[in-house]
Symmetry: C2
Subunit: 180 residues, 2 copies
C-alpha cells in the first residue's frame, strides 16, 4: 500500500489535513494516522530536536509506516521532517519494498505559520524560551520535487485534501502500472 | 485480529517458535513478527533493563502490536516480558479494542536455558560481566494463567507450534462467539 507523508513548518496545517484525509479515506480502506507529536510523546520520548535526533525520529516513523503499509494500510504521516536526506531515505525504504510513497509539501510562509502559532511555539521561540524551532532558528529544507504541494494560506482544508487525494490516486496508478 | 505473545526466560525458545509460527501462518494470512531484541535495537535503543525501562519496553511493543492487530494482522511477539502486570496491561489494551490476545508461556527451566545460552548472556552473568539478566539475578514472574504453555525441553519445535496454533484457534473462536 502507500504512505502519504505531510511535511512542512510548525503550524503549516499538517495535522489538520492528515486528520481530514484520514477521516475521508477510512470510509474506503484501512487507514492509520501517525502524528509526530503523538509518536514523540508515546513511543520516542527520549529523542530531542538535535539534527541527529530529528534524523532518527524520521527514520523510526518511516519504519513504522513501512510496517503498516506492507500489510495493506494507507498510512498518513504528519511530521515536520525538515531534512531532504531523511525524507528521501523514507521514500527509498518504501520503494525497496514495492510500496508507494507520496511526499506532500504542506506550504505556508513562515510569517503565516508564526501568526497561526497553534501550539504557541513561535511565541516561545521569539521570547527566547525555546531554541531550535524549525522555521524560527532551525532549518527547514523545502522539498525540491514533492509529489504534490498544497498551500494552506490560499486553499481551504477541503481543497487541499482533494489535491492530495488526486496525487495519491495518480501515484498508486503509476506504481501499479510499473508493476505490470 | 490477534496478538500472540511468547513470554519466557532468555534462551527458552521464544524467537525460534515465533519464526516458525510466523512462517506457517503467513501462508494463510497477514502476519508480523515483532522480536524484542530487534525492536530494542531498531526502535527503542534508549531503554535499558531497569524495572521501569522493561515496563516501558513492554508497553511500547504492546502498542505496536495493537496498531497492527487492529488492521487485521496476526502479530507474533517474542519478548521476555518478565512482569505479570505489564503483560496483563497489554492484554487489557487488546481487549479494550476488541482484539484477541494469546499469552504463551514458553517454559524451560533456568538450568536448561543457561545450558543453551544462545546469546552467551548466562555465561556473562555468571562471570559478573552482566548484571540484571532475567532468570539470573533479575525476576521472571511466571504466568499464573497463560492461554497456553509449551515446554521446549520436552517438546520439539513443531509440537510447540501446533500447540500454540490450537490455542490461537480456540481463542479466536471464543472471542468471535462473544461478539455475536
Amino acid at each position: 500500500m502507500t504512505t502519504i507523508w505531510l511535511t512542512g513548518l510548525p503550524s503549516s496545517g499538517k495535522t489538520t489535513l492528515a486528520r481530514e484525509l484520514t477521516a475521508r479515506q477510512s470510509a474506503r480502506r484501512a487507514v492509520e494516522h501517525l502524528d509526530g507529536d503523538v509518536l514523540r510523546r508515546e513511543m520516542f520520548p527520549e529523542l530531542g530536536f538535535s539534527r541527529d535526533d530529528r534524523m532518527e525520529n524520521i527514520r523510526r516513523i518511516g519504519n513504522l509506516a513501512v510496517l503498516l503499509a506492507r500489510h495493506g494500510v494507507l498510512v498518513v504521516v504528519s511530521v515536520i521532517a525538515p531534512y531532504r536526506r531523511a525524507r528521501d531515505a523514507v521514500r527509498a525504504a518504501h520503494r525497496a519494498r514495492g510500496l508507494s510513497f507520496v511526499e506532500v509539501h504542506v506550504h505556508a510562509s513562515q510569517a503565516v505559520c508564526a501568526a497561526r502559532d497553534v501550539k504557541g511555539l513561535y511565541a516561545r521561540a521569539t521570547s527566547g524560551a525555546l531554541s531550535g524551532l524549525t522555521g524560527a532558528g532551525d532549518v527547514y529544507e523545502v522539498p525540491n520535487a514533492p509529489d504534490v504541494q498544497v498551500r494552506t494560506a490560499e486553499q481551504g482544508v477541503e481543497e487541499c485534501v482533494l489535491t492530495i487525494e488526486r496525487a495519491l490516486a495518480a501515484t498508486e496508478r503509476r506504481d501499479k502500472e510499473a508493476l505490470v
